[in-house]
Amino acid sequence: MANTGSASSAVFARVWRRLDWTSAISFVAGLAIVYGIYATVEWKFVATLDFHILIEYWQPLLRGAIVTLLITGAALVVGLSVGVIIAILLQLPIGPLRWLIVAYVELWRNTPLIVQLFWVHFGLPVITGISTTALESGCLALTLQSSAYLADIARAGIQAVPRGQWQAARALGLPTWSLWLEIILPQALKIMIPPFANLALSFLNGSALLGLLQVGELMTVATKISDYTFKPIEIMTAVGALYLLLNLMVGRLARWLEIATRIPR
């Protein structure tokens, strides 16, 4: 009896020594989470979900996804141009202009998009007298915010261009437009690609907010279909998956762009 006891404890000791601790912790904790989810979810209900309606509504969903991409893309492209111009103006040694630009950038960067959206859609028409459609104000708000973020990114990009490039261009007597368009900006834009990609992803997700104004992008389509069919879970899950897919696609595109434009050394 004592013999078997010591034998089993020897086996136990060997197993104990061999135990891969990280895997064990990972497995036990993961199992606890899986069990927690398993125990709380109402599986009988989940079994009744009917994802067939997605086949019926794939066209409007696809159209919504395309509108989302177009709106985000337009806001980013216009925002990039405005942002670069702002960043170049920031290089000018004019005090009041600098303060104005910094105030503009910080105001748009430090307030939520939802407030900006409502401010542009409901507030601005009161003072300008021009009433904008939901799509117009959605695009305007996104563009204004992206221009502020991109101005900051462009400023950092311009500053990251090595000093020697400026000095060399000046020493060669290049005119200002050539200095900017042919020397500084091409290099700065390359440096800007990774932060630009991050911003693109966050705006892709942020554009879902425009659904609140019924702009006609993916989120609007999703809420309309789920209101019409009374199947919010199926539609929202599918839309989440669609957004995830768009995100992964844009992320992949950004990584490809980053590698393709890398300066060979």
């Binding site: 990280t22 912790i25 904790a29 307030t111 789920s226």
Partner: protein
């Protein structure tokens, strides 16, 4: 058209009530999110096993889906799938915590990975116990590196809390929408709301910026 400050002053109590709820939303979801983030960060650092896969899927999904979709999903689908009653407030808390947790996991991980490997190895070579190597050597340095990103996340959560108005949580944006719907003073009220948010967010991002610059100077 004149800027009617009287409307703002008259409705200041409602707006302040909104600010209060916004702050509660942010603080509670940051607290829960930190716990979720720590677990997910542990999972990602272990680099194998079940927890690693769960954490990876969680982080990827949460970062790849708009916060708006997450909030609507939990508000509409949560009660049905979990067979419970879920108030709009708790739906907002759940979705914001899940979102903050995913981003925090990555922030924690980046902070720990930013500590040079030599630090932990040196501590172990000196015979410091693994536990104390973490507590005394690795984590203090990692925490310092995380501060700017963490504050950046706090500002993000403040911004996201505005979305809770869409599912009917009575925070700042919601209160402003109600009041401006009654008074038609959209411009004044949303300007005021913007100023409130700016006052919440700007000091934080300013501090993060300064701190980051200090860190860069120190590590050089």
């Amino acid at each position: 058209m004149h800027f009617d400050t009287n409307t703002i002053i008259r409705h200041l109590p409602e707006l302040l009530r909104g600010v209060q709820l916004t702050l509660i939303l942010v603080l509670v979801s940051l607290a829960i999110g930190t716990v979720l983030g720590l677990v997910a960060c542990l999972g990602k650092l272990l680099e194998r096993g079940l927890l690693y896969w769960i954490a990876s899927v969680y982080v990827t999904v949460m970062r790849g889906i708009p916060e708006m979709v997450v909030m609507f999903w939990i508000y509409y689908c949560g009660p049905l799938i979990l067979n419970t009653r879920l108030s709009s407030f708790s739906a907002a808390i759940v979705s914001m915590s899940l979102y903050a947790g995913a981003l925090l996991a990555e922030i924690f991980r980046a902070g720990i990975l930013a500590v040079p490997r030599g630090q932990g190895e040196a501590a172990r070579a000196l015979g410091v116990h693994e536990f104390w190597a973490w507590v005394d050597v690795i984590l203090p340095q990692a925490l310092r590196m995380m501060i700017p990103a963490f504050i950046g996340l706090v500002t993000l959560v403040v911004k996201i809390s505005g979305l809770a108005s869409a599912i009917g949580v009575g925070e700042l944006v919601y209160e402003a929408s109600i009041v401006s719907g009654q008074t038609y003073r959209y411009f004044e009220l949303f300007t005021a709301v913007g100023i409130f948010y700016f006052m919440l967010i700007f000091p934080l991002s300013l501090f993060a910026q300064r701190y980051e610059r200090k860190l860069v100077r120190k590590t050089r």
